[in-house]
Structure formats: structure tokens, C-alpha cells
């Protein structure tokens, strides 16, 4: 786990939960755009947006983590990540900060079915504990 410790993370919130994504995996963070919904797509796919001329698929991280959708707020952001040579947007309630973790614990069990394997581990920063998201697992599942 030592390799994960020195890396930088973006800390974000969905619902009451705080998660983190490795900064290398993030392409950019944008404000909410107008989303075009796609008929007959999976429920967690919210639609597509125009990212400077590119059509990018946008998903709800809330849905991906088994939470219901909430109306957008001023703090709602789309985190654009790279996944298998494509850009994919993840809607989050809020982006908190860039951070590093002094210690990273292996993922704890008992998250429930939606969460199986969704985390690389748990980062610790002082007393705070933050789940580090495993994008391959979340987007691939």
C-alpha cells in the first residue's frame, strides 16, 4: 500500500459519505452541464453532455454507490475520468479538496452488496476516514 500513500487525491461527497479518487485518474472537474438523456439506457446513466465538442457519457455516482438521486445544487460537479480510452463523467454532490493520506488501510468488509470491491482502501488523514474509490470496479460492474 506504500505506493498509494504518496499520491494525491480529490476528496468528494455523495450523500453523507466522503470518498476520494486518485488524481491521476481524473481528467477534469466541471460544473453541471445540460444533460441529454438517452432512452433505453441503464438507470445510473444520466445521459450525455457536450464537453468542448466531445460527447461524454455522464453517470450518477450516487446510483453507482446504491444511493437514490437528489436534485442538483450549486455545489454539484461532474468529475470527468478516463476509463478504457473514453471519458466518463461522474456526478457528485460536492468536491471538497485535494489531499494526501498519511495512512491507507485495506478495505473493510460488510459494505453490502453494492459496495463489494468498490474501494481500493480507506485513507486516513488525522481522524478522518475516507474510502478511496476503485473506478475500474465501479464503472466496470
Amino acid at each position: 500500500m506504500s505506493s498509494l500513500q504518496k499520491e494525491q487525491y480529490i476528496e468528494l461527497s455523495v450523500g453523507a459519505e466522503t470518498c476520494a479518487i486518485r488524481i491521476e485518474e481524473i481528467h477534469e472537474i466541471i460544473k453541471m452541464l445540460s444533460i441529454t438523456d438517452i432512452p433505453f439506457s441503464r438507470p445510473e446513466i444520466k445521459g450525455v453532455v457536450n464537453l468542448r465538442g466531445k460527447v461524454v457519457c455522464v453517470m450518477s455516482l450516487r446510483n453507482l454507490l446504491g444511493m437514490p438521486d437528489e436534485p442538483d445544487t450549486r455545489a454539484t460537479r461532474i468529475i470527468v475520468v478516463r476509463y478504457q480510452d473514453e471519458y466518463i463523467g461522474l456526478i457528485v454532490d460536492r468536491v471538497n479538496k485535494v489531499t494526501t493520506y498519511s495512512e491507507i488501510h485495506p478495505p473493510t468488509g460488510g459494505y453490502g452488496r453494492n459496495r463489494e470491491g468498490a474501494f481500493h482502501g480507506v485513507g486516513q488523514h488525522g481522524d478522518e476516514l475516507v474510502g478511496i474509490l476503485k473506478l475500474d470496479e465501479i464503472l466496470g460492474g
Binding site: 441529454t36 450525455v48 457536450n50 460527447v55 457519457c57 473514453e86
Partner: protein
């Protein structure tokens, strides 16, 4: 070794060009022999040989060397252009193509020694065509053989063909026989060519022979030892199996013209390529050849855009000091100019993707020739308008549908020469491929002068196969029935043949043309012929789209598929067999609400009439109610990406002027599902 991977793509492209050229020249040569054509073929072969050996692609350069040698022989000796000669050349060309494909895919190379031998045989056709028979063992010989086997030796049959130019064949034969006896120990028996009566040259008797030996040496060993001997044109060594009830069973005659199965079985048929480097496995990147003139034109346009940009920057700089009305006018002027330049740039860039359709059509004379031979029908292919330009991707995708059409015509459509004679038609069946531009479309007209499609027969056949019901059949007009040939699982051929008749062909034609946003019309007359008219968009990258509003969303339908836009009142919608439909120009057209088809919520209708888009794809038609027709506009198609999964109802998305994404509907899917 020098790194050649950088030249790989160029090499493949050149190879494709040259092979294509050879194919065409060979076809022309078959029709009318000419020295120039042989010279063209020779030059192409020479070029391929040269570049292949530069690329260290020995398998191809070796094979091409033989082809080149054969062509040189044709050029010097000017033999009669027999069909064997042409066929051999075609076969070697095919072999070269196989090697090319294997090279591109990085696969192991197939063994084409049989083809090489065929070429060699062609050049050195022996003066006498005789028969060589595997020797029958006489009782005494059989005992010798059996004793040898018991003592641990094995029997080998050595088949030797001497060089045609070898002077004293008889002497050579005796020397070789002696040598083989020295190497192997025991010669069981030998067999010479059987002479045809009246043969002049006594020596030809010895031009080929089979020697059966008992030896402890293995095949490879023997082969290596003998391969150094001079005057041997061909050497084959097989194990000889002693029949249990010896005094040989029926002896199999060995035809003089060697067949592929005569390849040395001791060697593996596939040899692996020398280097398995990763570059080789990499598929060839598609490249585009653009004339310098076109490129310069594009550069000029980009230059003009830069100037426009500078003037905009100037305007913004001086804007503070100027009056707003004159400023707006200036900006408007620059914007107009930019608009024109961009439009021209767009067309120019699109043109770089265009290829003359000849690229596709030129593949078909060969196909027609092969079909003609295979089916024993006299066929002729007439190509018109090969210079018509079309998006390269469409050209690729069109290949399969057209091949299906040609096969169908050759197999089912065009009658045999005898039948044609009786009908007073020219004995040669004619297939015509014409291409031209019409408005914003490319039209490909494919016609044959065969027996046409009998709608009534089609109907009966579809009924028999359960594709349509009795009552459906009763309602179908003859013309409509013809369209049944596009239904999956439909085939009129009473027997399944090698060429066509698997009952999948026309189905593929429809789906492929549908994918390209094209439409097909069939025009057929029993006894006279059939014409398929295929209409295709010029390009797939930019389309004209009809913008419609449904449930508050803007959707785009490709204009190619929009047959008509009408307004109807709700009373016009009728229920027919549990399905809503409208009457349009006397046709019954299925009616759907686009919002229902796409699972969108229905919106309250304000106006009395319903805007309706009549969509057509390939040969199907349906009407879709929308909330509002916005208008048409050119849209750039963007892919939705693979992450979304299969979205068959959408052919992509585009970005509208307001920056929002609008979905482009796939009309062919919409209409047929």
C-alpha cells in the same frame, strides 16, 4: 537489422496497388492478349518482388520471383494464352494476396510451393504428356521389399522429374539410379514414364521416374542428399506402403500436372515467419491519399480563417473606441466570410475522405469471371460511372451487398446459354453496374438481364416457408411481394448451391444498406431482368438532419430517411388489426408516436393537427408523430462511445448551436423494430 516498421504501411499500400493492377491487367489479358499488358504485369511483379525483399518479406519475394519469371517467359516466348496459363497466373496472384493478408495480420505464412511448382511446370511443359504409374511390385521384388522391412529398413518411393532442358535424360536416369542405390542400399524397382505411341523423343521416356527403395535412412536425409544433384526439376519422396496381399493393389496413376496434394508431405504445410515482432501483428493503419492540389486548397482556406481571426481580434481591440452599430456591422461581415470559408473547408476535408467508386467496382470483373467459370455461364460485366466519388467508409461497406447481388444474378437470375438462346436473348448474360450523383446522393444502379423476379412465385415460397400468413399473402401486391426477398431466411433457389442460395444473402444486403442510411428500390420484369437502385448518402461523417421536438427534447432524423413531412388530424389515425396506421398516397403506413417508441412521457398537444414524419429505410416505411418540426440542418455525427453499450436505436449524437447534445435516431432500426 534496420528497423523497417516505419515503412510497413507504405509497403502494404503499394502492395495493394500493385496487386490490384495485376488483377486488372490479367483480366484484360484474358480478354485480349497484348504485349503491353504482359509488360505491365511484369513490371508490377518486379516492383512487388523488389519491395518485398526490401521489407525482408522473403515468402512473398520468392513467390513473386517465380511469377515474374513466368511472365518474362510469356513475354519472350509468346505462348498461346490458354485458360490453364491464365488460371495459373490467377492462382499465383491469389497466393500473393493470401501472403499479403497473412503479413498484415501477422499470421504464419501458408506454403505455396504447390503454386510455385505449377508455375514452373507451366514454363517447362514437357513435350510429351504421358503417364507415370506407381510401380507394381513383381513377386520377386515384393519378397525383396518384405525382407528389407523385416530387417528394420523402410520403403520409400522417390519421384523425380528431370529438368526439361536436361540433355541426355536416359544417361541422367541411370546415373541417378546408381546414386540412389549407393545412398540407400537397395533399389526395389523403378518405373519410367509410359510413352504415348508415336512419341518422337526416346529421351522423354526418362523425363520422370519413380524409384522404390528400401533404406534405413529417413526421408529428410535422402532429400537433402539428392537435392544437390543437378538437372532435377522436382523431387518428391513418400513412404511406400507394402500392401498386405502384395503384388500391388491397383496402382494409382500420377498425373503429370502436379496437383496440390503432391506437395511433400514430409514438410509442414505452414512455415512460421521468421520474426514474431509486435509490429508485424499490428493491423495496417488505414491511410488516405490526397492530391497535393486538394491539400493546398485546404491550407489556403485555413490561411483565410487565420486572417478572419486577426480581423476579429482587431475589432475587439478597437471596439471600445468605435460606435457599436458600425462595430456590429464589421463583425457581421467577418462572420459571413468565416461562414463561407468554413463551409468550403468542410467540403474540402470531406473530399479527402472520398474515393472514386471504381476502387470497389474494379474488384468485380474478377468475381464475375470466376463465377462465370464455376457456373459454366457466359457472363459479362459492364461498369459505368466508376469515377463517381463516395466516402471511403461507404465504399468498404458496399462491397458485401454488391457481391451478394452479383452472386445472386449469376446463380439464379441469369439463365443458361441454351435457355437464353430459346428466349431470343443474347447468349452472354449481362450485368450492369452504374453509378452517378443525384442531388445529395450517390446512386448505384445494378441490373441484370436475367429472368427477373416473379412476385407470385416469391409469395408462394414465402407462404411455404411461413414468412407470411395466408391472409397477408392475399393482400400483397405482386410488386410488394418482390420485397419479400429481403426477409431473413428467404431464398428462392430450390437447391442450395455453392455460389448462393443459403437464404441469407438479400437479408444481409438490406441490413448493410440500412446501416449506411441507404434505400433500395427493386424494379423487375419477369423474363427481362431485374434492376436494384441503391441510393446512398455522400458521406457518413456529416448528414443533413431533420430536427424535431419530442417531449421537450430535440431529436434528429437523417434526411435521407425522411420521405415526407405531413400534418394530419387525429381522425386520420385508423386502427387496423390492432395497429394504428394512416393512409398516405394510397399506402397504408404504420403510425407511431415517437415519444412512445422512445419511452418519453407524452406531452399535452396544443394544436389541432399532428406533425408527422414519414420515415423510410431500405424498403420499409412508417409514420412518426412528433410534437414539433424544427427544421433541417447539417449535423456532424459524433459517436456515443462504447461505454453506453449497444444503442441500436441511435446512430450517434451531435452538438447543436446552443451547445446541447441532440441524439440522432437510427431510422432503419426504428422502422424495422
Amino acid at each position: 537489422m534496420m528497423d523497417l516498421s516505419a515503412y510497413r504501411d507504405i509497403f502494404i499500400e503499394e502492395l495493394n496497388d500493385q496487386l490490384e493492377r495485376m488483377d486488372q491487367s490479367l483480366l484484360a489479358l484474358e480478354l485480349s492478349p497484348s504485349v503491353e499488358l504482359v509488360q505491365t504485369l511484369f513490371r508490377a511483379a518486379h516492383t512487388i518482388k523488389g519491395s518485398a525483399s526490401t521489407m525482408d518479406f522473403r515468402e512473398l519475394s520468392d513467390l513473386t520471383h517465380e511469377v515474374e519469371y513466368a511472365l518474362e517467359w510469356v513475354r519472350e516466348k509468346k505462348p498461346e494464352m490458354t485458360s490453364e496459363l491464365i488460371d495459373t497466373l490467377f492462382r499465383s496472384l491469389d497466393a500473393m494476396k493470401v501472403l499479403r493478408d497473412q503479413y498484415i495480420r501477422g499470421e504464419a505464412y501458408a506454403d505455396f510451393r504447390a503454386v510455385v511448382r505449377e508455375i514452373k511446370d507451366l514454363i517447362q511443359t514437357p513435350a510429351v504428356v504421358g503417364k507415370l504409374v506407381t510401380p507394381q511390385l513383381q513377386p520377386a521384388e515384393s519378397i525383396v521389399a518384405q525382407v528389407a522391412v523385416v530387417s528394420g529398413k523402410h520403403l520409400l518411393s522417390i519421384h523425380i522429374m528431370l529438368e526439361h532442358k536436361c540433355m541426355m535424360k536416359a544417361a541422367r536416369y541411370h546415373i541417378l539410379r546408381q546414386r540412389i542405390e549407393d545412398i540407400c542400399g537397395t533399389v526395389v524397382t523403378t518405373s519410367l514414364m509410359e510413352m504415348q505411341p508415336g512419341a518422337q523423343n526416346e529421351d522423354d521416356h526418362y523425363s520422370q521416374f519413380i524409384i522404390i527403395v528400401a533404406t534405413s535412412k529417413d526421408r529428410q536425409q535422402l532429400e537433402t542428399e539428392l537435392s544437390t544433384d543437378s538437372d532435377i526439376h522436382m523431387l518428391e519422396i513418400h513412404p511406400y506402403v507394402l500392401e498386405s496381399n502384395e503384388i500391388a493393389a491397383t496402382s494409382a496413376p500420377v498425373e503429370l500436372i502436379s496437383e496440390p496434394e503432391h506437395t511433400k508431405p514430409s514438410l509442414p504445410t505452414v512455415t512460421t515467419s521468421g520474426s514474431g515482432s509486435d509490429e508485424k501483428v499490428k493491423a495496417a493503419q488505414p491511410t488516405v491519399r490526397v492530391s497535393v492540389e486538394r491539400l493546398d486548397h485546404l491550407m489556403n482556406l485555413v490561411g483565410e480563417l487565420l486572417i478572419d481571426q486577426t480581423s476579429l481580434a482587431d475589432l475587439s481591440g478597437s471596439g471600445a473606441r468605435k460606435e457599436s452599430s458600425s462595430l456590429i456591422q464589421s463583425i457581421g461581415g467577418v462572420s459571413d466570410h468565416m461562414g463561407r470559408v468554413i463551409k468550403e473547408l468542410q467540403e474540402g476535408v470531406m473530399k479527402t475522405r472520398m474515393l472514386p467508386i471504381d476502387q470497389l467496382f474494379s474488384r468485380f470483373p474478377r468475381l464475375v469471371r470466376d463465377l462465370s467459370q464455376k457456373l459454366g455461364k457466359d457472363l459479362e460485366l459492364v461498369i459505368q460511372g466508376g469515377e463517381t466519388e463516395l466516402d471511403r467508409m461507404i465504399i468498404e461497406e458496399l462491397s458485401d451487398p454488391l457481391i451478394h447481388l452479383i452472386r445472386n444474378s449469376a446463380d439464379h437470375g441469369i439463365e443458361s446459354a441454351e435457355v437464353r438462346g430459346e428466349l431470343g436473348k443474347p447468349s452472354k448474360g449481362r450485368i450492369t453496374l452504374t453509378s452517378f450523383h443525384e442531388e445529395n446522393h450517390v446512386v448505384i444502379r445494378y441490373s441484370d438481364d436475367g429472368k427477373g423476379i416473379d412476385g407470385e412465385k416469391i409469395k408462394a415460397s414465402a407462404l411455404g416457408k411461413g414468412i407470411i400468413s395466408e391472409e397477408q399473402a392475399a393482400r400483397l401486391s405482386t410488386q410488394e411481394a418482390v420485397h419479400l426477398i429481403f426477409e431473413p431466411g428467404f431464398s428462392t433457389a430450390s437447391s442450395v448451391s455453392e455460389v448462393s442460395g443459403r437464404g441469407v444473402g438479400m437479408d444481409i444486403v438490406r441490413s448493410q444498406i440500412g446501416r449506411l442510411n441507404g434505400i433500395i428500390d427493386i424494379d423487375t420484369e419477369v423474363g427481362v431482368g431485374t434492376t436494384f437502385t441503391i441510393r446512398l448518402p455522400l458521406t457518413l461523417a456529416i448528414i443533413k438532419g431533420l430536427l424535431v421536438k419530442v417531449s421537450g427534447r430535440v431529436l434528429i432524423l437523417p434526411m435521407y430517411n425522411v420521405a415526407e413531412i405531413v400534418r394530419i388530424s387525429p381522425e386520420d389515425i385508423q386502427m387496423i388489426q390492432g395497429q394504428q396506421a394512416i393512409l398516405n398516397h394510397g399506402r397504408i403506413v404504420p403510425f407511431h408516436r415517437l415519444c412512445d417508441r422512445l419511452n418519453y412521457p407524452r406531452t399535452e398537444r396544443k394544436s389541432k393537427t399532428i406533425p408527422l414524419v414519414i420515415v423510410r429505410s431500405v424498403d420499409k416505411i412508417a409514420a412518426y408523430a412528433v410534437d414539433e418540426i424544427i427544421g433541417n440542418q447539417e449535423v456532424v455525427i459524433k459517436t456515443l462511445g462504447t461505454y453506453l453499450g449497444a444503442m441500436n436505436h441511435l446512430s450517434g449524437a451531435t452538438i447543436l448551436g446552443n451547445g446541447k447534445v441532440a441524439l440522432i435516431l437510427d431510422a432503419s432500426y426504428l422502422v424495422s423494430h
